[in-house]
Symmetry: C2
Subunit: 183 residues, 2 copies
DNA sequence: CGAATCATGTAATGGGTTACATGATTCA
DNA sequence: TGAATCATGTAACCCATTACATGATTCG
């Protein structure tokens, strides 16, 4: 039962396994349709992390005999305890927003105006699409998902609409010092 | 002039160096007061990355003779070209929002109500503080920063207010399926 | 003048990203 | 039945995180 510091990835895997045992591919699908919306995990992470958690005794594996010899992971009591402990402790970490578009905007003075306009259009569209997608998803899963998952989705929608509006305002000259005062 | 794929960190460093040559510590300070607000870089990254960029020929170093033997980095023409090329190319990468609080909310069904309430209070306060901080900062730098940097800050403020309101609504039962319809 | 903070690095570990590979299904 | 996609992994490299360390300043 080797000890190590658990990462966000660890808790994502543990959390997903509380719903039901799963293979890495199933984890990938569960993640992709939920938190993967705003926090990307590439599939190899979801193949690696369960191994580590197994080594730490937080999940157990069972490998198929024949065929593909798939590995199915199940959360252990220790795993549930670790997850519960994490949920109970205060979350004082800063939110990270990693947005290449925003980074480019920051250095906008170095870019040519045409590229900036393209950037703004692309970003507005991308965030609008994303918001639309979330709303469609919400309509689809409204019955199945629990309130917490729906709340997460709700914040996702609000976030994307906020950013969409920002780029729209930017394109229309409504972002700037001059207008900062009128709330 | 070794070739390698440039990362976001690379462009942050290159971009910061366009303002003026800088030591790693100065980079750290410039970053901390701007994009470091929402995209964290630990200081060793800003000591490592310039070395890599030097190896790639995108910046040049000059080391002090006496005293601390500080290294001062200057962006090269190749560096400017690389930055310009990046700014000109379309940005089709998904925004990443890495928020531990949101992750905990997602798994809220596994937590006890009291911990969830604490979480919500903490998050609301944290995001409010952050928004207030940004507004203070905007007031402070309004004259000095360029429009693009101010725009970045503006989005930061809108983002934090959105999230603050989300947690506030959550605490007041105003996030949920029932109310989804009334826009 | 001692403590705290500022400033400037290096080292080690491990997690994440990318790329490589290939066996199963599905579907035209 | 061939192509495309789904599914299931492995391997290597590199960046990011953490920890370690220590010399300069500042300030009470």
């Amino acid at each position: 039962v080797a000890q190590r510091t658990l990462t966000a990835t660890s808790f994502v895997v543990l959390g997903m396994l509380t719903y039901a045992p799963a293979t890495s591919y199933q984890l990938k699908r569960r993640v992709a349709s939920t938190i993967g919306n705003f926090w990307a995990f590439n599939h190899s992470q979801l193949y690696d992390e369960p191994s580590r958690l197994t080594a730490a005794g937080l999940v157990t594996v069972r490998r198929e005999e024949g065929g593909r010899r798939r590995r199915t992971y199940t959360i252990s009591d220790d795993g549930r305890a670790a997850l519960a402990a994490w949920l109970a402790e205060p979350a004082f970490h800063q939110t990270e927003v990693r947005d290449l578009g925003l980074l480019k905007l920051f250095f906008g003075s170095l870019a040519c105006p045409a590229d900036l306009a393209t950037l703004a259009h692309d970003q507005r569209q991308a965030h609008r699409d994303r918001a639309d997608g979330y709303e469609a998803q919400r309509a689809r899963v409204a019955g199945a998902a629990d309130d917490f998952q729906l709340a997460t989705l709700e914040l996702g929608i609000r976030y994307e609409r906020t950013v969409e509006k920002f780029w729209d305002d930017w394109l229309n000259g409504r972002v700037g010092v001059g207008l900062a005062e009128d709330r």
